[in-house]
């Protein structure tokens, strides 16, 4: 039976642990020794929406395991432009590859493709809904930095109301015992209340604040997301909030020595460049981990083992 990766909501704790273990295993293999693992397999990238990191990361992951990549990232060069339906596009291109990765502006497209296609489908972002490999790579990054994904104090900062990254990461971290959450956002961008309960309806340990400077000093992981201008009706309000949620190196003085700053990227102003050279910056390593996790995902969903 084919395996799809569509939503974090479909995964159990043991699924997450398996992905983490698989990523660690593939990272441990020297680069030269894994150049043939996916030889003969073709990854089809269907990017109906622009992407830098995710697309290149999947490509690098596939190529470094010896596989081939084809696809498109500009819909105007495809028959979709001529009015072809999404499902017809899926049924056509599935004949050319072994696995497909889809990014689309509409929510539910990856699920629809997965149900229609005989190929394994990986969701690389469906509108504001899900981006499961981002969550998996975030978890892998935390696992690598701390040797565990539980018993941690995690501060999520920025836009916690509209960010799909935050939803999925929060939900996943809540599967593991002992995690405490510090939710740092402007009042208008707080986490929706239903996200504060785990699968069994238990309320999780949350502290909500809008004081980023204080939160920085009191966590193991600081996960920053971008505050988007379009979420504010009033541009004055946006400017006010934006400046409060900018992290610079000076704010990191007094942070726990092992504390790591993560960000799904791209960043705009929310992390100043002077943070990059501090030992707390973890976001570029996070990018590298993304490629490793996607190697693990590609192998798992193609049914290939080390």
């Amino acid at each position: 039976m084919k395996r799809d990766l569509i939503s974090i909501n479909d995964l159990t704790r043991s699924d997450i642990e398996r992905y983490l273990a698989q990523a660690a295993a593939i990272e441990a293999v020297p680069r030269r020794d894994k150049m043939d693992i996916l030889r003969g397999y073709i990854l089809l990238e269907m990017f109906f929406e622009p992407s830098t990191r995710t697309k290149l990361s999947f490509e690098a992951a596939m190529r470094r395991l010896g596989g081939d990549v084809m696809g498109f990232s500009d819909v105007s060069t495809t028959s979709v432009k001529k009015g072809e339906s999404f499902l017809d596009t899926v049924h056509t291109v599935e004949n050319y590859a072994d696995i497909m990765v889809i990014r689309h502006a509409q929510e539910g497209t990856a699920r629809l493709a997965a149900e229609a296609s005989r190929l394994p489908v990986l969701n690389a972002g469906d509108g504001t809904n899900q981006h499961p490999t981002q969550t998996l790579l975030d978890m892998y990054t935390i696992q690598k930095f701390f040797g565990r994904v539980q018993d941690l104090k995690i501060c999520l900062a920025g836009d916690l109301r509209y960010s799909r990254t935050v939803y999925s990461l929060l939900k996943t971290l809540m599967m593991f015992e002992g995690n405490e959450f510090l939710l740092c956002s402007p009042e208008s961008l707080r986490v929706p209340s239903y996200l504060k309960y785990d699968e069994d309806g238990r309320r999780q340990s949350f502290v909500e604040t809008d004081d980023l400077a204080a939160a920085v000093k009191n966590c193991d992981v600081l996960y920053v997301t971008r505050i988007q201008r379009e979420r504010f009706a009033d541009s004055v309000e946006y400017q006010k909030v934006k400046n409060v949620f900018e992290l610079d190196a000076a704010m990191l003085e007094g942070a726990r020595p092992h504390m790591k700053v993560l960000h799904p990227l791209p960043r705009v102003n929310e992390i100043k460049p002077d943070v990059d050279v501090t030992p707390h910056a973890g976001y570029f390593e996070q990018v590298f981990n993304g490629m490793i996790m996607r190697q693990a995902v590609l192998m798992h969903h193609l049914g290939v083992t080390l």
Partner: protein, 168 residues
């Protein structure tokens, strides 16, 4: 006006089904669902509106004479009005009584209210919604994963012949 008195407005039925505790205003919609079902188009139905109710304040009531209601009709009624009481009547006596529970899954009857959900642009997709919180009557779209309250959801239920073409 006491309850015994108001029952005079819809006489007891000898056999059939009584749908009670319908929130006021939903009675006509339920009659419409019943009449739209093949085989029930000509069923004799009594409809009572705005009865006094100690629990609900006001309620509607529907009596279907000499017919039973198939499961598909009950499923559709459960969407527009979960919690109504269904009583089977034989020989003027109530022989069975159930409280209609909200469904666990709604397939092919709902339209996703997220305008950016793929089900609203791909013509061939059958929608589905799964209950995520049965107490609060919340359902998650099987595609875009957005969660909606049952009372906010839109359903594409069959309409009876006499209402076809009318605006909702």
């Amino acid at each position: 006006m006491n309850q015994t008195h108001q029952h005079l407005y819809i006489p007891k039925i000898e056999s059939g089904v009584v749908i009670d505790h319908i929130p006021a205003g939903l009675g006509p919609r339920i009659v419409e669902i019943i009449h739209a079902h093949p085989g029930l188009e000509k069923a004799m139905v009594s409809l009572g509106l705005n009865y006094g109710s100690t629990k609900q304040g006001r309620k509607d009531m529907v009596k279907v004479h000499d017919h039973r209601l198939p499961d598909t009709v009950l499923e559709q009624i459960a969407l527009v009005s979960p919690g109504v009481t269904i009583k089977r009547v034989e020989g003027f006596e109530v022989t069975a009584r159930i409280v209609l529970q909200p469904p666990h899954k709604i397939v092919g009857l709902g339209r996703c209210r997220n305008p950016n959900c793929v089900t609203n642009t791909e013509a061939a997709v059958t929608t589905r919604f799964m209950a995520v919180d049965n107490k609060a009557l919340k359902f998650r779209c099987g595609f875009c994963e957005r969660v909606f309250r049952l009372r906010d959801m839109e359903f594409v239920l069959p309409r009876s012949a006499w209402r076809k073409g009318c605006k909702r």
